[in-house]
Symmetry: D2
Subunit: 439 residues, 4 copies
């Protein structure tokens, strides 16, 4: 890394990119990036150019010697990269809209990460990620792969099990959002709050909550039994927790837990939303169009504030924070998706978990958590079973394995209905699922 | 056990008792019982007398020196017993009818073992079982407790965790029924078929299937993809498995898996049944009334064939077979609920599992299974979480813990709906749940 | 196995072969062997012929249609075999004599299984066993490999880790000898005694001892605190246990435990024996010469009683008993070396252990033991570490790894002395250790 | 902790105390101690006064408002303490001399932590520590117990298993010494070196070594194969490692590993030392006498440099560093003895381990290490077995259990010799082992 750091961002045309660039600019003093390669595919060329130009203007304004390259040539971008970040979306938001719409037709939540929607996002994404891994082995074997393409847990699991890349981290904005939410609730600075995170991606729990190092878990749980204090993310409709449930759970759930602890209510809500507002993908699509209109403005040279409504806020910032800590061997605590290594009892040592880690130059080192609370072991284990079977289906393209993944998903739990959804989704996503159609 | 074996049967007035007696008669040569104490409570006195008199006639016909005692004095029955069998039902079938009806009102399956119905059956049963355990410590500390009161898994878990009785076995007729079903399918004698069972009570899988020691799993799974070949129990409505699902599962599910792998279809079916035929409890209640009419016949001195339609067929026979193998140190293989001890990876060593065991005079010794298939680890873990939280709620009488158990149950998965069901069921079963109302 | 069973015995010229043949004759009714191939190498041709002719006379006397083939062509012997037994000794007894003599020069026990002697026996044996495994994959992929070449634990570990043969069982006569010793002590028939065995080969403990299914462990431990009641094997000099140690251990040690719980006394004793009587190998060599003189007698047509003094008594009989139980799916309990699969906590699931198993046509199924007593976990773990590092050294031929295995061995525990022993033994066994000299 | 921190130091009359005081003075800005209570027993009154007066002079010189209390009243010292540090020595150095001398008479190393000497130090110390724990429950239930009395691993194990105090940390100067040694070797500042520590107290390995976050393990191991580069502590005679052994071990051993990987050589060396120089205790006794002569000097008001030769250098500084990090929620990485919690595979989750931890106000959080290298699992497990059996013997005062601990110790490994040592040591330490003599 002598001559400055090279970053390759796959899916560089994403609307999130300005946040990424802003993060790099903010931390330039300690994270001297010399090259930022934004890669995209032909279908994303226009967006890549719009957002790439904005990136250039932002860097110019900051007066930093970071070269921004816009390219459709992934291999050129990967060559000698120090960090590879992945934020692409196979099939774009239209594919996500199908992930959400089709299951709902059968009364089932789509849920783009751990539900049937997530299954299909995984089936489309994992082969591409594994291709990238193979290229990384050849072109930048020492680079870190920082993935924030969803389903981040399943993708990390697949990389750990089916590639030779071991320097991989999966990233999510949910835990950081929970910490910021708690800080707002307590009316203190974010830096004073620390949550002990453990679980899986979008299935993570705050097992303990500290303010200046002293546990305030009971107080926080008490506070959030008041629905006005709910901590939510833009992507998930907010519903109120039953206070007695929350107290017995004795841990901070994440927004995505609504799908598993309020299943039938969420089905109703999403059916209603889909009808009245469109699904989340459809809403986001509009937001994105508006964002890209803004990005086109040749006078814009900062990240526009509207981006924060996009839902993935802090994702890119979390990525830059992580890269910064790895590069500087900072040894701070961050929640990321990494190999379990025994940190959480009951999850295989070689599986991906989302857990509080020390971030070193040698990668994230999970803090040993021990046993999850009895009441959450089951659901976490069930999503891990799902992730593993889904990853296998993505790699093998085996129909039966895909049906198995669909059926054991707790939002589906029905082999007959699962098959209906599977068949319709396979057909709808055919173009992006060659592994299921070419053999 | 010098002077002959003493058996104490709690819930002796059960309609199953004639099968138990028949089992003892058949095996008398190797299992020389001298005293059979049938115990019941005041409310069951009439049934106890009817079934007790039949038992006496059966033994008289067999010409065996077994003394049958009918009593409401549990302590007298337990005193110096060698085996204690438990087959009682707190609140009788009326309680079970509520366990089934109330959740259905909210669109949720009752499921008397691992669902909300099972939760309430556990809440009513566990305190009684723990009382029996305390009495056993005092009155017959060397006796074996053979429990076949449902939910047998949760009850065994509770005894292992919350009593000092370590000589406990939970028994179920489901695995033996699966073996007999496979034997019928293959048109061979039951003795030639052996299934490797692993999982939890009513959540057990046949991981491998042997005919004369050679695996025929693939063949059997292939056969049962034909719905005409379904292996079912009377208690669970039969629905067809998707063949591709079954092949990917690559294990023999039990009948109760329909609730978890065909959830929404089972809701519909049970709603329909409840409307047209009554719930299973209501059906059984009629069957039982008919059975007791038969039992009253002073000329009847054998187990009437009608009993086999009752649903619990082979339960009592399985119990006698187990007692026989313990008493004679037979070292045969039987599937029972016992302490895991590492046999199934991923389930706590001190939790109850249902697994193929060698039955010795020193109790059942589980065969080391290793890891469950990835796809089933999750669901099994989820039911174990549920069983453990439910057992804790039963012992503590804590409302919040009961709500937690209800909410994490995969058939409920909704804290709001769970609370509605919980509140209505607590009220309905108030009389039998003193631990929730007396503090 | 339609036309009768084919057995291939590698090392067929061994002095043990008559016991093997006797075992096959005794069990012929249920174990209809049609072909017995005794294989040896050129250097063993004479012994093979002597013992092979005796085998033929024994079978002729028994009037059974078993064809005995004597051959130096291992591939011909393996072709379509149903069971492959291995009882060869690379370098013959002269090599064992070096295994014992060289370490003693440095004040260290040789110990032909778990000591430096065992390390070298493993280094010589494992490459040959892995060759046999490769041939089995090609020539008899469905056969069972029944290994009783020492060090049986290390060899089984190596087959499990470094070959594709999964149908492998390691066999030892020590546990069966312990059961027979306890039976003699209690003056009862062997069939009434059952010991719960767990540990590793030559590092196995009787965790509980049953007479007719009832624990008599305390009584037996009490008995053997009397040195007149010691249970020993011919191979290991008997020394008295301290009664208080034995009571605190609360388990039945095997003879080989003297090396680890009486280390310095055993060094002295073996030094004295080596001087006065010769090492065990040297004693055995004389016994063997005498046996082969007996075997030559053309009138001898039964196993001569002198064989029982050889030290490995019951080895071959144990092998036949095991083959019999596998072939007939007998489901009896036998202690063998097999994959742990979670049966013993704290030992890797994929490592070999010696443990009580149910023997089925599908192989041995270990009984779940759970945790070993705290006091023995450490030593068992240490030998497992040694076995694994030693197996790696055998496969890689890496000098440093061999030195590591030598140094971590509890009988050596000295890198400097270990290096001296290693260097001298490598030189002495050069001919049989091509992997260390050819790269 | 509003009005400043209260420290209670049990064994306050120790020669280490000036280092402790120096540490507190250095960190006063962030660690505002208001009260330092130095406690000792009657026999230590003179030393307490000498060292206590020096402490007062040091604080006076620093101009800090820390009140130093000298007392024989332990309860008064514990009352409302925030941190309790333990550095006492039951029986003083005379007892240690016996711990070393007696085993050597039988050709066995004493080894004051993990050998027979350590066993007896544990038997004397653990009951006192458990008394302190009981008093802490009553007098300062929120305090942290920072133990640096040896054997620190066994003591921490005993507190975790046999007391209700969960806020306990065991501390050792060995790992910090290894890091400083590596820093010297690489000629860099200590702050740039970080070692991943895992194992047990005095049985800890450096699994990886980082310079500025980049692994330099291979380089360091290469360097220390040169005996001039050995990293040693004053307490353990230095011997050279065989380079090939070290390379295969592929981890940094600690000084105490000489006892286990150079056992017979260390016996010889210690026999020679004992004869020529006296045992370590005898050497230290002289050093201590000289130190106390220095301490008496009324003009001395700083820690004299001679203390660093004492052998326990950095112990007290490590303690202050730990207290500082806990108090300030510093979240830095320090190697300490704490509950394993799954961090090291194969060691019980509820046992003490020595491992790199993040130090928070909520205590040390171990970094998940996963599996130890195969070659070291065994020895680590053996010492853990020893520690657990020894702790049980200390608590129960059971002779047989003590003999079991003695015999399974890898330095003894002989029940007969173990009994001789045990009997002589029990007699020699009778006064301090009431649990073995009063029942």
């Amino acid at each position: 890394m002598a001559k400055g750091i090279k970053i390759a961002t796959i899916g560089g045309g994403s609307s999130y990119t300005p946040e990424l660039v802003e993060g790099f600019i903010k931390r330039y003093d300690e994270l001297p990036i010399s090259e930022l390669w934004l890669v995209d595919i032909e279908a994303g060329r226009e967006k890549l150019e719009i957002v790439g130009d904005l990136a250039k203007r932002m860097i110019k304004k900051a007066g930093l010697p970071i070269n921004v390259h816009l390219t459709l040539d992934r291999r050129a971008a990967l060559k000698d990269a120090d960090f590879v970040t992945t934020q692409f979306r196979v099939g774009l938001l239209d594919a996500r809209a199908k992930d959400e719409r089709i299951p709902l037709k059968y009364g089932v939540l789509g849920q783009e990460t751990n539900g049937p929607g997530g299954l299909f996002k995984g089936l489309r994404t994992i082969p591409v990620i594994l291709d990238i891994c193979r290229e990384m082995e050849e072109l930048c074997p020492d680079a870190w792969l920082i993935n924030f393409t969803n389903p981040a847990g399943m993708v990390t699991e697949a990389v750990l099990r089916y590639s030779n890349i071991k320097k991989v981290v999966g990233l999510c904005n949910v835990p950081i959002g929970m910490e910021m939410g708690v800080a707002r609730l307590l009316d203190v600075d974010h830096s004073r709050v620390r949550i002990t995170f453990a679980g899986l991606n979008h299935m993570v729990y705050g097992l303990d909550i500290f303010l200046d190092g002293v546990s305030v878990k009971d107080k926080v749980i008490d506070l959030i039994t008041n629905p006005d204090n709910a901590i939510t993310v833009e992507n998930v409709p907010a519903l109120e927790w039953e206070p007695e449930f929350l107290k017995a759970l004795n841990a901070l759930p994440c927004s995505y837990h609504h799908y598993y602890y309020k299943r039938s209510d969420m089905v109703e809500k999403e059916l209603k939303n889909a009808k009245e507002l469109g699904t989340r993908a459809e809403v986001v699509k509009k937001l994105e169009a508006e964002l890209f209109e803004l990005y086109k403005d040749p006078n814009l040279d900062v990240k526009p504030p509207q981006l924060e409504k996009r839902g993935g806020a802090y994702y890119s910032d979390a990525a830059v924070r992580l890269i910064h800590s790895i590069y500087t061997d900072k040894k701070d605590i961050q929640p990321v998706n990494t190999i379990n290594n025994g940190a959480i009892a009951g999850i295989p040592a070689d599986s991906a978990v989302e857990v509080s880690c020390i971030i070193t130059k040698d990668g994230p080192k999970p803090i040993a958590i021990g046993e999850l609370p009895v009441a959450v072991q089951g659901l976490v284990g069930q999503i891990k079973s799902f992730e593993r079977v889904a990853a296998e289906a993505a790699v093998t393209g085996d129909y039966n394995t895909a049906l198995l993944a669909m059926t054991i998903n707790p939002l589906v739990a029905n082999d007959r209905v699962g098959k209906l959804i599977l068949d319709e989704m396979l057909e709808a996503h055919k173009e992006h699922l060659p592994q299921f159609f070419h053999n």
